[in-house]
Symmetry: C2
Subunit: 479 residues, 2 copies
């Protein structure tokens, strides 16, 4: 194992982080909040470290083989979380390093669980920094989903490897122009989201922060009330549109825009069907509890459902007040997640589609053993390696969820809180169910050890489990 | 589909049920309880129906093909549950048919969830009938696990098909002598259990009832306090021994007794490791709450753990009082279950062993793609069809658990009760966690619809899901 290979890119990441820290420093300086010094000093220290690492390891070849790539993504996510936590720790928040690390990991993985209260009165630097962490995390997540995980054949995602899906003409054989398109799309979505938010009545600062946490399906907000702070319905539909757009495969968007035509995609169809069904369900049960105009209630139902299934995690109201049936819907939605190659997390729609198709196929085979039926996805036969990947991912997803839940219960959390904390971290959603970590609560009161486990589980979720737990196997380390 | 093919064996089952009903009739007659007439009339009516069906369908060939076999096991389990509910419904209990059906299905599937309270004051006929349902259900479960499910290749259980596991000399090629051995073993275990229970201080009646519900890993008792009614520790160790023995593959026991040597079996090793670890865990956390001698506490910890993992469901005390860590242990234990080909239910040890081996193997393959590693079980390579069966079973198990949980929440149950009701029914354990359905509660207060769903889920669990939900697919019914 060549540890030097990962030092150079980690050094470059540190430089990137330190450059990003200049933005909150500027914001706090304008607001005349002393935290601008914290951000500036952190930027200088981390930037210098990065530059020194860059100089020390200049010429070392970048991570090349499988194990170095795995080591790099793990190290990158942890290093970024540690470095990003530095200004939060030294800022006027007065939180300990556990909380700072939890908040940063939650941001970078675009989870959106928070340990902070009183967001409405926080200085702009910290609010902007949290949003920036999610925004930059979102790019990392897309990159993981488009290149790294398919390349590593994790959890069936090889289905979306660029080569195999573009057999005829490889439009993105050269990676440069494609990265450019991706960044333009991500930036364009963020900018349009921001402008529409402003049109709907947000201040410039609110619009910037929420645009960054919407397109990254992150979910950090500028208020303890999350989206509940905004009156009217237009802002909810704008957010719903951009959360859904960001949960769609970015490759699909880029190709659709280039070809000016959007074909039906299985993942997107599944996403819309589940959103529609769950929204109607929430609306149905909500009617008994809330007295409001049907359109306003439906708006909030769709917004909350989309917020959870896209793994964003905003809340328009405390939907857990609407009875056990609504709690059931939101608890289950936490597992699903959006589409592959997007900023959203969770189990992902393509895996659900493949599993359903496979089980149907299996039933047919059992009933009629002599007829040949094979599972299909989007009109193509699903290869055994993809199928196996999906099945294994399902088992690991359930196992990781269960294993971490047990840890949280051992640490004293009640069953409901433990289960929902575990899945909201693993699927990178944000809020859980129950009084403590529900949409109107925070993770503040959890024991410190639980916060570290949750932060690790968030990163594990981002690495689609396999790319993370591989580090814990002896085989990975033995030559 | 030849529906007539299943009518003959269903008719014979009805005759068997009516014969069994004579026992509680006799018990109630001795106790001078008027319910003896209910049992006798039910026996006559059901017996006559069975004889008429036998005569009407005489000469019809028995279920031969795959679909008829599947239809038969489903029909048999439901028919037996309906017929067995008849005397409970008409008895002095005064319960409605939903409760009677729930109690009977819970008995026959050896689940052990109950809707009855005041067991201590019930007439002997009803207590004996509940025990008989479990005892006869246990034989059905073993038969399913040894012949039917492997034959239908359900969930990887083909691994235990008699032919494949006995390639060298087929000692049970002729089924007759083997069935005899099985019945002798089951009867012998029941008898020894009963006699030891009497030695430990149970009355004759208590010993009979508890022996029948112990070897079937059913869990019905003669008291609301379950095993909490018995003083001393010896009775707990006797019960622990017989619950564990009944959760071991019966084929393993028969072969071991014949050869007078017991080889290490992977399933049994896993079972003992999990029991040991969980017992130590419960003991560890219990110490903070309970003030008792260490040996007594350890005895109860082992007993409760074994009771849940073997899917028996007795309770020695309300272990849910010992804090969230202990609740976590018991909630998780509910999923596991014992070994295949035993009376216990749940996920089964061999599937856990195969899954762990496979995931290890997968990690190795990822790290070293050029080295050939294949999953092994008990020293033999695991075939793809077994592996696929296990993976699919895992997905269906999680999906069924989740799907039914959502139904229970839609019906108004809180998250904890819904989740634990769902898994305790699917794994055929008995008690759940939480105040309502925990070891000191009953299923009485649940809505009627929930009780029907739970009864169906118990039967689905017994049919290892696949053999049950196949009936819901259009392909099964179409020619």
């Amino acid at each position: 194992m060549n540890f030097r290979a990962i030092a150079l890119p980690i050094g470059r990441l540190l430089i990137l982080i330190s450059l990003l820290m200049i933005l909150p420093a500027v914001a706090d300086a304008f607001a005349e909040n002393p935290d601008w010094q914290v951000f500036l000093v952190s930027a200088v220290v981390l930037g210098t470290t990065g530059i020194l690492m860059n100089m020390a390891f200049q010429g070392v070849s970048p991570p090349g083989n499988f194990r170095e790539a795995i080591l790099f993504v793990n190290a990158a996510w942890f290093a970024f979380s540690f470095a990003g936590a530095v200004p939060l720790y030294f800022s006027g928040l007065g939180i300990d390093f556990t909380d700072a690390f939890f908040e940063t990991a939650s941001g970078l993985t675009t989870t959106g669980s928070t340990v902070l209260t009183g967001l409405d009165t926080l200085p702009p630097g910290i609010l902007l920094w949290r949003a920036l962490l999610q925004w930059i995390g979102g790019i990392g997540v897309i990159a993981l989903g488009i290149w790294l995980l398919p390349g590593l054949r994790v959890g069936g995602s090889q289905l979306f490897a660029l080569e195999s899906s573009e057999k005829t003409n490889k439009p993105y054989g050269h990676i440069g122009p494609f990265v450019f398109r991706l960044l333009v799309l991500y930036g364009g979505l963020s900018l349009s989201c921001m402008m529409l938010y402003q049109l709907c009545g947000m201040t410039f600062f609110e619009a910037v922060v929420h645009a960054m946490t919407t397109v990254s399906t992150g979910g950090f907000s500028t208020s303890d009330q999350s989206f509940g702070q905004f009156p009217g319905v237009s802002v909810y539909w704008v957010a719903t549109f951009f959360m859904l757009t960001s949960s769609v495969p970015f490759l699909y968007l880029i190709r659709g825009i280039e070809r000016k035509s959007f074909k039906l995609d299985v993942q997107i169809a599944f996403l819309f069907i589940i959103v529609g069904a769950a929204s109607l369900g929430v609306f149905y049960f909500e009617r008994y509890i809330v007295h409001d105009t049907p359109f306003h209630m439906f708006t909030l139902a769709v917004f909350n459902v989309v917020s959870v299934i896209t793994t964003t995690g905003y809340a328009a109201n405390d939907y857990l007040q609407f009875g056990p049936a609504v709690i059931a819907i939101f608890f289950m939605l936490t597992f699903f997640g959006g589409c592959s190659g997007s900023t959203s997390g969770g189990f992902k729609m393509f895996r659900i589609a493949i599993l359903i198709g496979y089980i149907q196929c299996l039933f047919r085979r059992m009933v009629r053993p002599h007829r040949i039926v094979e599972p299909r996805y989007q009109g193509h036969a699903v290869s055994n390696s993809v199928l196996e990947g999906v099945l294994v991912f399902a088992v690991l997803y359930a196992g990781t969820f269960a294993g971490f839940s047990v840890v949280y219960m051992m640490l004293g959390l009640d069953l409901e809180t433990a289960l929902s904390a575990s899945i909201t971290a693993l699927a990178n959603v944000g809020p859980g169910v129950g009084d403590t970590i529900g949409p109107s609560g925070t993770f503040q009161s959890l024991p410190d050890v639980a916060k570290w486990f949750l932060a690790i589980e968030m990163i594990l979720g981002r690495l689609e489990i396999l790319a993370g737990i591989l580090l814990l196997t002896p085989d990975f380390w033995l030559e």
